[in-house]
């Protein structure tokens, strides 16, 4: 009897130890005044935001605080994320929460990325997916080179997929499709709408004015044609007069009647412009860094 009890105790301990090991993925570290645990290049002006953002182990990549993904699934997803990171030299992070957090899902996603050691290279290239179960909102935050790859159009399409899957509650599928889409676009490279943009050393997106050779030639031709036609117009000065306005001495309107005949109203649909070449819209997080991306409710 005692033996059985011990076995049960040992089993429980073992299980709990195992469970602890698995649960380590959501372990957080404490930030202190002396050790804020933020990357060196991040401004520490917004202490409140830093303290409220969990400090995590940056190698885990999946932080399932809301516990909506099974450990087995997490492992599968982790492998795919690692593959993505190796292949495209961009970081990828997935976060789920179900507590009420300050700010919007977007700002939480930005802060989570900024105040942990995420991102490749100097410009901290990478993207973060946040699923906020409390607000039922999903957000993608891009940083560095990822801002160029994931323009507004691509972010919109990725959010479309996420919205559907999350609406059905198939969280694994949602994250899996997200990784798949992110890979697809990363393979295509920088979005066409961001052809004339680059990321500067501060991680900000900068647009270079598009001024290719053919544009220069076309503008030169226009300048030439306009100038020559202005010059030529000065050569023609003789014009026949067909009226005699200058010689009008007096005018006296003797009768006037404005008769209303009919009225009609037509309506047309205002077509919203969907040219799809806006590039990437960026915003600043509490740390002052530039992020791209977007969010949506599900």
């Amino acid at each position: 009897m005692r033996k059985i009890f011990y076995i049960i105790i040992i089993n429980i301990l073992l299980l709990s130890a195992f469970a602890l090991k698995v649960d380590a993925s959501t372990n957080t570290y404490t930030r202190t005044e002396s050790n804020l645990r933020v990357p060196n290049d991040v401004s520490t002006n917004n202490k409140a935001n830093i303290y409220r953002t969990p400090s995590v182990d940056e190698d885990e990549k999946i932080y399932d605080f809301a516990k909506i993904i099974s450990d087995y699934d997490e492992k599968l997803l982790f492998e795919k994320i690692e593959e993505f990171i190796d292949e495209y030299d961009m970081d990828m992070v997935v976060v789920t929460i179900n507590k009420s957090e300050f700010g919007t899902a977007m700002s939480y996603a930005d802060d989570f990325y900024d105040y942990n050691y995420f991102g490749k290279n100097k410009t901290r290239d990478g993207l973060l997916l946040l699923i906020d179960m409390y607000k039922r909102e999903v957000a993608i935050s891009t940083s560095g080179h990822a801002i160029l790859v994931y323009d507004d159009n691509r972010i919109d399409r990725m959010l479309d997929y996420l919205e559907t899957d999350l609406g059905y509650g198939t969280y694994y599928d949602a994250v899996d499709t997200f990784i798949e889409n992110a890979t697809k676009y990363a393979k295509k490279g920088i979005a066409p709408s961001n052809k004339n943009a680059y990321i500067d050393e501060n991680g900000d997106i900068v647009y270079v004015s598009p001024f290719p050779w053919f544009m220069i030639i076309v503008i030169s031709i226009i300048i030439t044609v306009v100038t020559i036609s202005i010059l030529l117009s000065r050569h023609k000065q003789i014009k026949k007069s067909s009226t005699a306005k200058y010689y009008l001495k007096s005018i006296n309107i003797t009768n006037r009647e404005d008769k209303f005949i009919t009225t009609f109203t037509t309506s047309t649909i205002i077509s919203s412009s969907s040219s799809g070449s806006h590039g990437s819209s960026t915003h600043r997080s509490s740390s002052g860094r530039s992020h791209g991306g977007g969010s949506r409710r599900f």
Binding site: I221, L232, Q237, S241, A244, L248, F260, F264
Partner: protein, 356 residues
Amino acid sequence: MSVIDHKCPNCAAVLKFNPTTQNWKCEFCKGEFTLEQIKASEEKYGKKLEQEDIITEKDKDGMKIYKCNNCGANIIMSKNTAATSCIYCKNTAIIKDNLVDEFSPSMVIPFKKTKEEAINEFVKIGKGKPLMPKVFSDKKNIEEMSGIYIPFWIFDYNSVSDAVFDTSRVKTWASGNYRYTKTDKYKVNISGNMEFDKIPVDGSVRFQDDIMNSIEPFDYNELKEFNYSYLSGFLAEKYDVKSEDAETIARKRAENSSLDELRQQVNSSGYSTVINSSKNININLESKEYILLPVWMLNIKYKDKIYTFAMNGQSGKLVGDIPVDKKKAVLTAVLIFFGSFIILTLINLVIRMVLK
């Protein structure tokens, strides 16, 4: 036939009209006289310097020959010439026969711009016209300019007009996802009486009507009662376009303007579209006059074609169609193209260097 000249009350030399002072000047004794002084002198000392039977008429080709009363040279002139000068001694000759009876102008606007002023004005014509051939700015060519009193008919009209206009007011606004356009249609009946004062029509076939149109308007406040004296020192023509023919042109202008004025009245009430659907315009001739108006004329030959320039001798308004020097045009176009190409390329380089 007779030729008239005015002689100086002091020294009996020939007098010439001075556009700057609007008086007459004797080029020998430098005396200057008003019209009244000349008239008084002529009354006192006998008639004007008038010589009979100097002209020998040659109907052939419509040309006439006259013998200069100053140097005796034979001068050939057109049958319409009313005033000219001897090409040898520059002596003025006013051909009286072309200025009497039906050819007697009732009024004249004397020249106000001197030949020097006209030449200086013309020199400036090349300003801002780099494509103009060089001959047009050559002072030697410009000095050929001559001051001519051109015969004009002027017509006064009153018009009684009725017109109907189809008009509309369009309002657009957006609401929700729709843009609405509301069109209100109206029919406007409008009638008006108008008076037109002194619409001018060139009375000489030799001068193109559109050039004469282009130097309008003349300031009729400076119209003077006609006197031969104003012609001294200038050329003059008599009319060869009958007043009836000229009148149809003036009438058309008055008609067009009458409708325009009514349209403008309707338009000023804020309609979006104004379309004339019917009109009834009666133009009544009130009076007509035969007058002489001052014009500086210049012909310049370029590539076997003659280009005519005219300047309003009163206001100084200068018009003429100037040909384009094709070589210059091509060269300028090429220069502008490469100039802007180089500048744009440099700007592009600078932008790239600053941003990268």
